[in-house]
Symmetry: C2
Subunit: 660 residues, 2 copies
C-alpha cells in the first residue's frame, strides 16, 4: 500500500523541505495579518446574522436594539485584545494560553485550556466552512441542497493545502483577505455616505413583516426577554475567536516576533470592531429583517413567505442595497466573503497542529504527533482536525445556527484561565521586581489582565447559561473526554519512563549474556532459509541449530533426508506438533532453552518475505508475524528478521528512489 500512498503524497503535498529552510517560512506582518485575522474578521459574515435572528424571536421591535448588543460584543473584544497584547509580550514562545495556564496555574489547568482550544479549533473549521458554503450557495444557486458535501469538499481541499506547509498557504490566502477588507470597508463607506445623502435604499427584506415566537408577543419583556438578549450577545461573541490564535502563533511571525504579533492583534481588533458595528448599523437603517425560521416567521401581507423564500445573509442583503444599480458588487462581495470564510478555517489549520505538537512533546498526546511530517507542517494534527470538522459538518447538516451553539465555549474557557494565569504571572513578578518603572508597567498590565479576567469570566458564564442545553454540552463533553484522555496518556508515559529509567547502579545493565544460542526457524528449504542460515553462521553463535515444526509426523524422514542432502554444518531439530500448531512448539522450545541456560541469549532468526504489494501481505508472513509477536514476550530472546526481497519489492524500492 505504501507505494500508492507515497506517490499520492508526493503528488498532492510536494517535496520535503530541509530544516535549514525553516526560517524562510516565517511570516511578515502583511502575510500574518490575513493568515491569522481571517478567523476574527470573517465572523462578521455570520455573527451579526445570529444577533439579529436571535433578537427577532421577540419580533421587529426587539431587533432594533441589535447595535447595542453589538456594542457590548465590541467592548468585550477591545478588552480581550488589550489583554492578549500583554500575553503576547510575556509569553512569546507560541505555547499561548496553554503555556500561560501551565506556567501559572499548573499542568491540569494547562491541559484544560488545551482541551478547550482543541475542541474550538475543530468548531472554527466547522462553523466557518459551513457559513462559507452558505455564501457560495447565495452566489451559485445550483449548490443549494448540496451544502454538506460542498463543505466537506472544502475541508479536504484545505487539508491538502496545509499539508504543503505554512508559507504557501500564507501567500495564497493574503489576496482574498485583503479583497474582503476592501469590499466590506467600501460597502460601509458607500453605505454611510448614501445614508447621509438620503439615497440609501431599503434592504430586500424590509417589506416583510415578522411573527414573534410564542411567549414573545410583547417583545423583550421580563426574564425571558433578558435571557434572549444575553443569548444574542453570546452568539455575537463568536467575533472574538481568532484572538487566541495569534497568541499561539507568535513563533510564526518574523522578528521582533512579540511586537509584530501585538501590532497584528491590534490591527485585527480595530478592523473587527469597525466591520461589526458598520454591518449592524447599516442593517438597522436599511431595515434588514432576518429570522431563524424564515419560512414561518417572515410574512408578506400577513401570509408566511413559505419554504420557497431564500433568506440571503445580512451582509449579502446590505451589499445588494448599498450597491443597488451595480449588481457585480453584490456578487463580488458574496464570493469574497465565501472565500474568506474558507480561509478563516485555515487559522485553525495553523493553530491546531502546533498545539497538538506541543502537547505531544509534553507527553499528553501520542509521541508520533510531535514528529514533523515531510513538509514542515504537522501532518498528523492537520488530518485529525479535518476529520473532526468533517464529522461536525455532517452531523449538523452544515447549519451555522446549530453549530454556533457549540462554539466559543472553548475559547472563553481558554480566555478566562489564561487571564487568571496572567494575573498570577504579574503577582509573581511583582514580588521580586525592585525597579519602580518596571513595577508600574507590571501593575498596569495586571490591571488590564484583571479586567480581562472579570469580563471573559462573565461572558463564559453567560455563554454557558444561554447555550448549554442548546448544544454547548456537546462541546463541554468533548473537552472533558479530551482532557481525560490526555491525562491518561501522560500518566502512561510517566509510568513507562519510570519503569525504563536507568537506576543509579548501571553495572547490571552492562553485564552481558554468557553465550549466544542461535536458532534458525524455517518451514521450507529455499533461498530465504539458506540466507538466514548463512547470516546466522556469519555471526558465529556459541550454539546454532536449524529448527522446523513437523505438523505431520510422517513427513519427518523426508525432512531429515532433504536436510542431510544440503551437507550444512548445522544440526537440524524437528519439533513435534501434537496440536498441528506452528507457534506454540517453537515458543515452548525457546523457553526450554532459556530454562536450561538462563544466562544464555537466544537469537531466533526468522526468514521473512519483503513484498511489494499490500495484497501479498495476506499471502505471506502471517505465521512469521504471529510467531515473532509471541516470542517477544519471553525475556532473553532476540528475534532477527532475515529479509528476502521478492522481486515485486525491488520495484517498490526503486520507485521510492532507494537504491536497494
Amino acid at each position: 500500500m505504501s507505494d500508492i500512498v507515497d506517490a499520492a503524497k508526493r503528488l498532492l503535498v510536494g517535496r520535503p523541505v530541509r530544516s535549514d529552510n525553516l526560517g524562510h517560512t516565517l511570516l511578515p506582518k502583511r502575510i500574518a495579518l490575513p493568515v491569522f485575522a481571517s478567523d476574527a474578521l470573517s465572523s462578521v459574515a455570520y455573527a451579526p446574522d445570529e444577533i439579529l435572528l436571535t433578537l427577532t424571536i421577540a419580533g421587529l421591535g426587539a431587533a432594533i436594539i441589535s447595535p447595542w448588543v453589538g456594542l457590548a460584543v465590541v467592548v468585550v473584544l477591545v478588552v480581550v485584545v488589550t489583554s492578549y497584547r500583554q500575553n503576547v509580550h510575556a509569553y512569546p514562545s507560541g505555547g499561548g494560553d496553554y503555556e500561560v495556564a501551565t506556567t501559572n496555574l499548573g499542568p491540569r489547568a494547562g491541559v484544560a485550556v488545551a482541551s478547550a482550544l482543541l475542541v474550538d479549533y475543530v468548531l472554527t473549521v466547522a462553523v466557518s466552512i459551513s457559513s462559507g458554503a452558505q455564501y457560495a450557495a447565495t452566489a451559485l444557486p445550483a449548490l443549494r441542497g448540496h451544502e454538506v458535501s460542498f463543505a466537506i469538499g472544502l475541508v479536504v481541499l484545505l487539508t491538502l493545502l496545509n499539508l504543503r506547509g505554512v508559507k504557501e498557504s500564507g501567500t495564497l490566502f493574503a489576496i482574498p483577505t485583503y479583497l474582503f477588507m476592501l469590499g466590506v470597508g467600501s460597502m460601509a463607506v458607500v453605505g454611510f455616505v448614501r445614508f447621509a445623502t438620503g439615497s440609501l435604499p431599503m434592504a430586500e427584506s424590509a417589506v416583510l413583516d415578522v411573527l414573534p415566537e410564542d411567549g414573545f408577543e410583547q417583545g423583550l419583556m421580563g426574564l425571558a426577554g433578558a435571557f434572549l438578549v444575553l443569548r444574542a450577545f453570546a452568539s455575537g461573541c463568536a467575533a472574538l475567536t481568532g484572538v487566541e490564535a495569534i497568541s499561539n502563533g507568535v513563533p510564526a511571525f518574523r522578528k521582533p516576533k512579540s511586537k509584530n504579533a501585538a501590532t497584528t492583534l491590534a490591527l485585527l481588533g480595530g478592523l473587527s470592531v469597525t466591520f461589526m458595528m458598520s454591518i449592524l448599523l447599516l442593517a438597522k437603517v436599511t431595515n434588514v429583517h432576518f429570522a431563524e425560521i424564515p419560512a414561518e416567521q417572515l410574512t408578506l401581507d400577513g401570509v408566511p413567505v413559505g419554504e420557497d423564500y431564500v433568506q440571503n445573509p445580512v451582509l449579502g442583503q446590505l451589499a445588494a442595497a448599498v450597491f443597488q444599480g451595480f449588481p457585480p458588487a453584490f456578487y463580488l462581495l458574496s464570493a469574497v466573503t465565501g472565500l474568506i470564510l474558507v480561509l478563516a478555517a485555515n487559522t485553525a489549520f495553523n493553530g491546531f497542529p502546533v498545539l497538538g505538537s506541543i502537547l505531544a512533546r509534553d507527553g499528553y498526546l501520542p509521541r508520533q504527533l510531535h514528529t514533523r511530517g515531510d513538509r514542515l507542517a504537522f501532518s498528523n494534527g492537520i488530518v485529525a482536525l479535518a476529520g473532526g470538522a468533517i464529522v461536525l459538518i455532517w452531523a449538523f447538516d452544515a447549519q451555522v445556527t446549530r453549530l454556533i451553539q457549540l462554539y466559543i465555549v472553548g475559547v472563553f474557557v481558554s480566555f478566562t484561565l489564561s487571564q487568571l494565569g496572567m494575573v498570577k504571572h504579574w503577582n509573581r513578578h511583582l514580588r521580586t521586581e525592585p525597579d519602580p518603572a518596571a513595577r508600574s508597567r507590571m501593575v498596569r498590565s495586571r490591571t488590564i489582565n484583571g479586567i480581562g479576567l472579570g469580563l471573559t469570566g462573565t461572558v463564559l458564564v453567560v455563554v454557558l447559561i444561554t447555550k448549554f442545553s442548546r448544544g454547548a454540552w456537546i462541546a463541554i463533553l468533548a473537552m472533558a473526554v479530551i482532557f481525560a484522555v490526555m491525562q491518561a496518556v501522560r500518566r502512561h508515559y510517566d509510568s513507562v519512563r519510570d519503569e525504563l529509567a536507568l537506576g543509579p547502579d548501571i553495572s547490571a545493565a552492562r553485564s552481558l549474556p554468557s553465550r549466544v544460542h542461535a536458532i534458525v526457524l524455517f518451514s521450507r528449504l529455499h533461498k530465504p532459509t539458506m540466507r538466514a542460515l548463512a547470516y546466522a553462521r556469519a555471526s558465529r553463535p556459541s550454539v546454532l541449530e536449524a529448527v522446523t515444526v513437523a505438523v505431520d509426523p510422517e513427513d519427518i524422514p523426508r525432512m531429515r533426508a532433504d536436510w542431510d542432502a544440503l551437507e550444512l554444518p548445522v544440526p537440524l531439530k524437528i519439533l513435534d506438533s501434537p496440536y498441528r500448531e506452528i507457534t506454540r512448539p517453537i515458543v515452548d522450545y525457546v523457553r526450554s532453552i532459556r530454562r536450561e541456560s538462563p544466562r544464555d541469549l537466544v537469537v531466533v532468526y526468522i526468514p521473512e518475505y519483503v513484498v511489494g504489494h499490500w495484497w501479498e501481505h495476506v499471502l505471506h508472513n502471517q505465521s512469521a508475524l504471529r510467531l515473532k509477536s509471541r516470542l517477544l514476550y519471553t525475556r532473553g530472546v532476540v528475534v532477527a528478521s532475515v529479509p528476502w526481497q521478492l522481486e515485486s519489492s525491488v520495484e517498490v524500492a526503486h520507485r521510492q528512489g532507494d537504491d536497494a
Copy 2:
C-alpha cells in the same frame, strides 16, 4: 487486543484439542446421518412451497400437477444418490467433487467445482437460516418483521458452535433431526390414514381462491406454461443439495468410511423422497393454496386477502390440518422444522472449511487457511462462510423465494463436472483392468455415472435457463470471481516458489558474509537501550556502533556527554537529520555501510517495547515499526528486535498461560 480476543475465544470455543484425539471426533452413522442429512431433509420445509407457488402463478389448475413435478425431482434425486455412491467408494479421501474433477479433468475443472461449491455452501446457510427464521415467526408471531436480525443472530450462534469442533455439534444436532424425521413421518402416516378413512380435513387456505398472473389466465398453456413448469422443477431441485456434502465429508465417518458414507447417502435419499412426495400429495388432497404474493393473488369471495393475511408454510398448513383437534402437534412440528433448518446450515459449516483447507493446501487460497485453529475446526473457513451468509441474508431480506433463485446453480455445476470426471475415471481404469468381474463392476458404475451426467447436465441447463435473470447470475458471477482469485493466488504462490527454489548449485547459498557490522539504534538512554547494547555486544560482531539521530543539532553535545558518562566500550554515532526525520538518515547510513563493504552483513538492533494492551501500540513502537519495514528493503541487512517487556505485557503473558 489479543488478550481480549484470546479470553473471549477461550470462553466461547473452549480449550484446544490434541491431534491424538482427532480419531475421537469421527462420526458414527447414527450421528453422521443427522449431521449430513439435515440439509437435504430440511429442504422439504421450503422446496414443496416453491414448487406450489411457482405453479400457482398459472392458477389453481396448474398447481394440481405439483406431485408430477415432485416426481421429476425424485427421479433426479434417486439418480444423483446412486451416482454419488460410486463417487464415495472411488474417492474416499474427502476431496469429494473437487478431487474427482481435479484428478480426471485437470486442475482448472477442480477449481471450477470448488468455486461452485463454495458459493453454494454460503447459499445453503443463507436459504436454510432464512427459511428457519420464517418457521420461527410462524410459531412466535412476535418475531414477524424481525426475521433478518433473527436470522443473522442464528448464523452467529452456529458459527460459535462450530468453532467448538465437529463432535459436539454432531451430538447436539442429532436429537432435533430425529425429532423432525419422526414428526414429518408421523404426519404423513396419520394424514394418509385419515385420507383413506375420509376424515382428513381441508387445509386452512382451501377456502381461498387464486388469481393467476397476467398472461396465465388460461393456465399452463404454450411455451410460457412449459417454462413455468421447468422453473417449478428447478426450484424443487433444491432438495438435492446436501448429497455432495456427504461425499466431501467421507473422512469424518467412522471406518469403514466409504461404506458408512454410502449407506448414509442411501438412507438420506430414501427419507428425502418419501417426505417430499408425502408433502406434495397431502397438499393436493387437503387443497393447500399457496401463492408467491399472497396479499394480491389469494382472494376470499373475490376480494384479495390483503397484507394482513399470514400465509403459513405448506408443512405448517398440513400439520394444522392433519393434527386438527390436537394443536400441540402443529406447534411442535413448526418448532422442530425451524430447528432442523438451522441445523441444515450446519452441513455447510462442516463442508466449507474442509474444502477451504484443501484448497489452501493446494495453494489456491491463502496458506493460513490450511492451518487448523485451536479447536480442530478450520476457524478461518467457518468465519468466512458465516460472513458471506450474513451478507446474503441481509441483502435479500431473509426471503427464501428470492434467495432460492441463486441457489443450486453451484451444486449442479459440481454434480455435472463430477459425474463427467467419474465417467473418465472408469474409462481410464477400464483401459488397464484385466479381471472380468472387476471390469463388469466398473462398466456398471460407469453406466450409473453416465446416466447421472446426462441428467444432472440437463438439470443444470434447465436451472440456468429458468433462473439466470432472476438471480442465478449473481451466483455465477460470484463463482467466476472466486475462480479467478483462486487461480491468481495459485499463480502467485507458484511464481514465488520458482523465485525461491534452490538451484542445482547451492554453493552460493552456502557462502557466508565476511564480517558482521552491528548497529544498535536508540532514541533515549534507558533500560531497553542498555539491553540492546548488551545483547549486541554478546554476539561479538566485527564492528559495533551505537547510532542515534539528532533531530535538533543543539542536542548533540548533551547526547554525547550522556553517552560518555556510561563508559561503554562502544563508539557513538550521531546522525544528522536536516528534514527532522528519523527513518531516512538511518536507512541512508545503513546503505552507506553496505556500499563501502558489500560483503559485510549489517545487523541492526532495535529496542522494541512489548506492550500488554492494544492501545499501548498507538503510544509506542511507531517509529521502530516504520524503520524496520524500510530497512528490510535493503539487501544484506538483518533487523534484530530486542524486546523490552513492559509490566503490562508480563500480565498478558501470564494470562495466556505462559511462564515468561
